[in-house]
Amino acid sequence: MTTNLYFEPIRLPAECEALRAEVRAFLAQEIAAGTFDPHRPGHGDSHNQAFSRRVGAKGWIGMNWPKKYGGHERSFLERYVVTEEFRVANAPVRLHFVADRQSGPILLKYAPEHVKMDILPRICRGELCFVIGMSEPGSGSDLFAAKAKATKADGGWRINGSKIWTSNAHIADYMLGLFRTSAPSKENRRHGLTQFLVDMKTPGITVNPIIQMTGQHDFNEVVFEDAFVPDDHVMGEIDGAWKQATSELAYERSGPERFLETFYVLLELIRVLGPEPDVRSAEGLGRLVAQLHTLRRMSVSVAGMLQAGREPLVEGSIVKDLGTVWEQKLPHRVRELTAFLEPDSTNRTSLEEQLAFATTVAPKLTIQGGTTEILRGIIARGLGLR
């Protein structure tokens, strides 16, 4: 419990800059080859198997995992550079991103050796897509109200119930999900959930698409009917998933993807304003730049803390709170700042197309991966208020 917040002004080491140049060259090549269009987010499929495999071949998935599992034993800061360059370019990373960011690290920590040896190298090669199974129709932010059940069977567990808002479930190979193995205890309502690795090809699993208001298909409902999960796919302590959940949050919440989601509209704003903007536009742009720069410096600093083996839960939650609120407001700010421009300004059409997309995507940014309210609750707990 502390009010001492700390953000060391990390400078990225030299190896990061060499890597950054390599990543930019790779992305430029992919763009030139027509793999994706950096200026048209929301167009084309962000799930691209061939691309993910090329990224894997570059050694940019599982970058900081042990070599014996296909990883590359590079630093968090190097992974940071790759993540931010891919995000800024709007590269199609959907297939491997969740596995790289959070599923792999969970497996590394809790999976039996033979499961690690089987799955982790395939993640690193860009072959596997993971989905997170946490929310249910009756429980979202209140994770520990989950009801979908795992019942002990011979050699494993039978799962029944459903998970919802599961991004990528329709393309995923595996789910890491929380399932109820016991009732909550009187003393601890978080007791009784266990984390399982579920092969999505298991009989008894149905994936029902849910179309988002942007028109995109990202999340789903996943229904389990007596789906069998073997014993060696239990991740960590039975009934004790609540102890495991929090330490991963700093990884999930503080990355550059938590403030760069609508970055393209800022770039387009700079294009549309041209080299000599009026004072109103210049001031508006300058504030956005200062806010973005600050978020990035905070986020890099958290990556440095992770590298140093710390668990900056409060700092990580702050980055996601500020970052997602900022990226959510960004399209609205850009809209205001371009309100007085001539309709035939250069790039105006492309800006409007981007704004339309960013504006419709914006509401989800402060909901996914921990809502603003939940994050502020975590921050308040860190401050010693609850």
Binding site: I270, E276, A290, Q291, I379
Partner: protein, 355 residues
């Protein structure tokens, strides 16, 4: 002096402030005699001339150590011209000029104020809102002639001063120079101009503001845990928790932005585009945090925090005043926006990702 990462000097400063500049204690003081005792102790510890090398009369601390001292000064809402004397000493050193003892300040502190150097070396012009001018013995002026910038040490008594104070009641004066003869002067180094002084001043104010915000957060959290309303500590109400979490976010942003700018300046040889990005961003973001953060802190404290008697205003009003010195957030946002626009969209991300 201490190494870069342990900042022993900052600990020395913290001890002096705790003993002689405790905000609650001096808030109750009947007169200003504490200032003299405090200054004497700071002087003894070599803090005012921390950024001046020994051969020029100072104690030769690193820039990083000096910024650490100023962060602590912000946490105490220090109301003596320590930061002003430090930047004045730093500015004198740019021209290799010997530093005098006693409190100093600098001019200009507004980006558009221009002090002119005449052929005979005398200075003319006005500098607005100069902090602590009336409490200082000397003022270090960045003046300009047709060849560039000149750094000059001037006795305050040879200038005309208007009466004035900032929101927190600290003196700020219009300083007018009418053919004033400096005690000594010298050319600024190549490439060093008024903008360089504004960037350094902005970074200093950013670091102090982040410190003041840290204090606002710890005071507010402590108060929320102890103040009981509706039969429980107000910290137990979600609405209050959400407000304090937002305050923590503003404090975090201010600390990160100011810390990054200070670190950049401590490493930089020139005031280039990277320094502009860092220092301007820090000033903009810490000023925004001061606006947002001080209103949340006051909201948590309710009526008691609005009294003269309570020390909260010492932090909030200084943080709000510091927004305006060395270029306010709107000024820097326009400057930064112009720079980014001039560089163009393709050069934007490479600049942001450059460190």
């Amino acid at each position: 002096m201490a190494g870069e990462n342990n900042h022993i000097v900052a600990e020395v400063a913290a001890r002096i402030f705790a003993d002689l500049a405790d905000p609650q204690t001096i808030n109750r003081a009947k007169d200003e005699r504490w200032k003299e005792t405090l200054w004497h102790a700071l002087d003894e510890a070599g803090l005012p001339l921390a950024w001046v090398p020994e051969e020029l009369g100072g104690s030769d601390a690193s820039l990083a150590d000096g910024f650490a001292i100023l962060g602590v000064a912000g946490r105490f809402a220090l109301a003596v011209p320590l930061a002003e004397t430090m930047i004045a000493g730093w500015l004198l050193t740019r021209a290799g000029l010997l530093a005098p003892s006693g409190p100093m300040t600098v001019a200009p502190v507004r980006p558009h104020d221009r002090i002119e150097v005449h052929q005979d070396g005398t200075l003319s012009g006005s500098a607005f809102a100069v902090p602590f001018a009336q409490s200082s013995r000397h003022i270090v002026v960045l003046a300009e002639d047709s060849n560039g910038a000149v750094i000059a040490l001037v006795e305050i008594r040879s200038c005309q001063l208007s009466e004035g104070q900032n929101l927190a009641g600290d003196p700020t004066n219009v300083v007018t120079f009418q053919r004033v003869k400096p005690l000594r002067s010298g050319p600024a180094p190549a490439g060093f101009d008024r903008s360089s002084l504004m960037l350094m001043g902005s970074t200093i104010r950013s670091v102090q503001t982040a410190g003041a915000l840290e204090a606002m957060l710890s005071l507010s959290v402590a108060y929320a845990n102890e103040r009981v309303a509706f039969e429980r500590p107000i910290a137990k109400f979600q609405a209050v928790q959400q407000n304090l979490a937002r305050l923590a976010g503003e404090v975090a942003a201010a600390l990160a932005a100011a810390g990054s700018a200070a670190d950049t300046i401590a490493q930089a040889d020139l005031f280039d585009d990277t320094v502009v990005l860092e220092a301007a961003s820090a000033k903009i973001r810490t000023a925004e945090a001061a606006t947002e953060g001080s209103s949340i802190a006051h909201q948590v404290f309710g009526a008691i925090g609005f009294t003269k008697e309570h020390a909260l205003h010492r932090f909030t009003l200084r943080a709000l005043s510091w927004r305006d010195e060395f270029g306010n957030e709107s000024y820097w946002a326009a400057e930064l926006g112009k720079q980014i626009a001039r560089r163009g969209a393709d050069e934007f991300w490479p600049l942001v990702a450059s460190r």
